[in-house]
Symmetry: C2
Subunit: 366 residues, 2 copies
């Protein structure tokens, strides 16, 4: 999407045709810095240090990391070394393994002399496939927004609430939850986004607000506590969130707090949509209650990073010393609270029959 | 309550029998500093700068401010001057006006020579009345906790979720939502409190966690997003929150985000209680939807104050420049989601009949 008028993806091949550019997301929202990755080691570091984050973007970065490895040394040994290096960066990231397996399968049968070119080609395809999926999500989600706009007076703003960052910064471009929003905005529909701050890591306030603002989409940052009040007062027309995993029955695992917004949406008759690329569906998990919920570091809650008035980045403690912390990363929103799942193959009912019918080739797999 | 073994109120008469001590709440949770107030001007500053906060404590501080004024000069002119000075500090604080009117009514008929002594006496009574109300809330709320403990195995912990700070720091002692918790803890019941961080002002993380920790009550600070997940997993036995205003129909206005927790409690069969002193009931407001919701400064959301690793207090910006903010201070939880109102006259159903029956003398008034 755009950053102050110029189009960016989160990762790209530089004009030299071998090094890789990426937005350094650790510096957002305070600084917009481009990183240049010139080796598999730097790509691995970029994933490990969260210079890049978001499942699809991690996959694309790993793919480009393999290409950088083949550029330096196209031997079998280098291929194996790069695979091991990259897979170890974020062990639980599903797209990471998928992308590396795709790369290895494409490269291993080839003569070393042609692996470099083939690696950049396949990495580019993996990035483009993500963009294609998100564009399709955007098209289907656009219909949802248009249908709601049609119930309002012409030109009236459609107010959309989102939680966390399922934006273009988490993908190669467009994002998942944001794809319909960017499509609607770019077509000239009046949309306005309520951006949940998303404690404790503040991905809403620091990333979603940043990307919407730089693309020019009207938005307002709100504390996570606010969405229910807005829905009670008719100030939210629909919610669209992303997801980390959807169970076979349509239960949605997403950033902690999503469930509370879904409850408020139901209580106030506000449609609640979840946008996702189909690899997020886990047909091996029957029910969302089976999804293990990660507990994360207390420091994410006790400390906050921000910019001082004179421009320094400081980390400050906001919770008293000695108070224990619980930091659950995700919660599960039962399918009964979800209006629809916006996928690359259309908007689906959140149930097993609809998911299996739309993605029959995946029902036997994770 | 206790601070590291020693009993404190939030405000008290110093051993010199004329100056007034108070906890400087602006420095919490990072520093425990006692302020000594020696004039009505200092009492007014303490209220205005939020050295003290919380409706009952503001009332008590204003009362002591009048006593300090009478100590310096018991004339009619000084009485009027102190009243005007103190009432202007927090124009919307209802307890402030109530306490000042109580003081003026007690002092104006008296000869100046006896006003000083009478002023300290009445201020002390106002402080003690608050303590008495909160103790009564604690007794009635204790029965609620005991009834829930009785459904568990002997010695099992009762997990209580609270939002914001309706603790002893907001009152003279005991607090409202915390009074039953302190009572239960002091009696030896195993209680554990889930403390909502309470963005954007973080009163939960900075004040409730501090006071529970220093009194020795087991507790865990959680992001506001977390309560729903905990309730889904049986980790919350009941919720107790405070309130800023209760409508005649039992609708509860409290810190933004309370409604979301009440929805989660209802969805998971968790009892949801609201603790309040009866002056909080506003019989002139029929329905919670009539309660105006204050919008507060964007800076409360965009900036956070905390302590750096080397001990400095710094304010940092956490939201990108240019992103608009909405900061609604309160929301309304419909009475249908409230299990009971814990008042100084017992636990009441959240409806007009129960409120009017318990407080018949107030039904004609605000």
């Amino acid at each position: 999407m755009k950053v102050d008028g110029r189009h960016f993806r989160t990762i790209w091949l530089e004009p030299d045709r071998w090094s890789v550019g990426a937005i350094d997301q650790r510096r957002l929202p305070h600084e917009f810095i481009i990183a240049r990755l010139v080796s598999a080691e730097e790509a691995a570091d970029a994933i490990r240090t969260m210079l890049v984050r978001g499942a699809p973007l991690i996959g694309a970065t790993a793919a480009y990391g393999m290409a950088l490895a083949m550029h330096a040394d196209p031997s079998d040994a280098a291929l194996d070394r790069a695979y091991k290096l990259l897979i170890a960066t974020r062990p639980t990231a599903i797209n990471l393994k998928w992308a590396l397996d795709q790369m290895a399968a494409a490269l291993r049968p080839l003569a070393p002399s042609v692996r470099g070119e083939a690696a950049y080609k396949r990495a580019g395809e993996i990035a483009n496939e993500d963009v294609g999926i998100n564009q399709a999500i955007g098209s289907h989600g656009l219909e949802v927004i248009e249908a709601i706009a049609a119930t309002k007076k012409a030109g009236d703003t459609v107010n959309i609430l989102t939680h966390c960052n399922a934006g273009w910064l988490a993908t190669v471009d467009w994002g998942t939850a944001t794809a319909p929003i960017y499509r609607a905005h770019d077509m000239g529909l009046n949309v306005h986004v309520w951006v949940d701050e998303t404690r404790p890591r503040n991905q809403g306030a620091s990333l979603t607000a940043w990307e919407l603002g730089h693309h020019g989409v009207p938005h307002t940052v709100i504390p996570d506590n606010t969405g229910g009040h807005l829905m009670q007062h008719g100030m939210v027309d629909l919610a669209i969130v992303g997801t980390d995993r959807v169970a076979a029955n349509g239960d949605v695992c997403n950033k902690i707090g999503t469930y509370l917004k879904a409850l408020a949406a139901r209580d106030n008759g506000v449609p609640f949509y979840v946008a996702l690329p189909s690899p997020t569906i886990d047909f091996s998990i029957k029910d969302g209650r089976e999804i293990p919920i990660e507990q994360r570091a207390a420091s994410e809650v006790t400390h906050m990073s921000g910019r001082t008035a004179d421009g320094r980045i400081e980390i400050v403690r906001v919770v008293p010393e000695g108070s224990p912390i619980a930091n659950y990363g995700f919660d599960v929103t039962p399918a009964r609270l979800v209006t629809g799942l916006i996928t690359e193959r259309g908007v689906l009912r959140p149930d097993h029959a609809a998911l299996a019918s739309a993605f029959p080739e995946r029902t036997g797999t994770r």
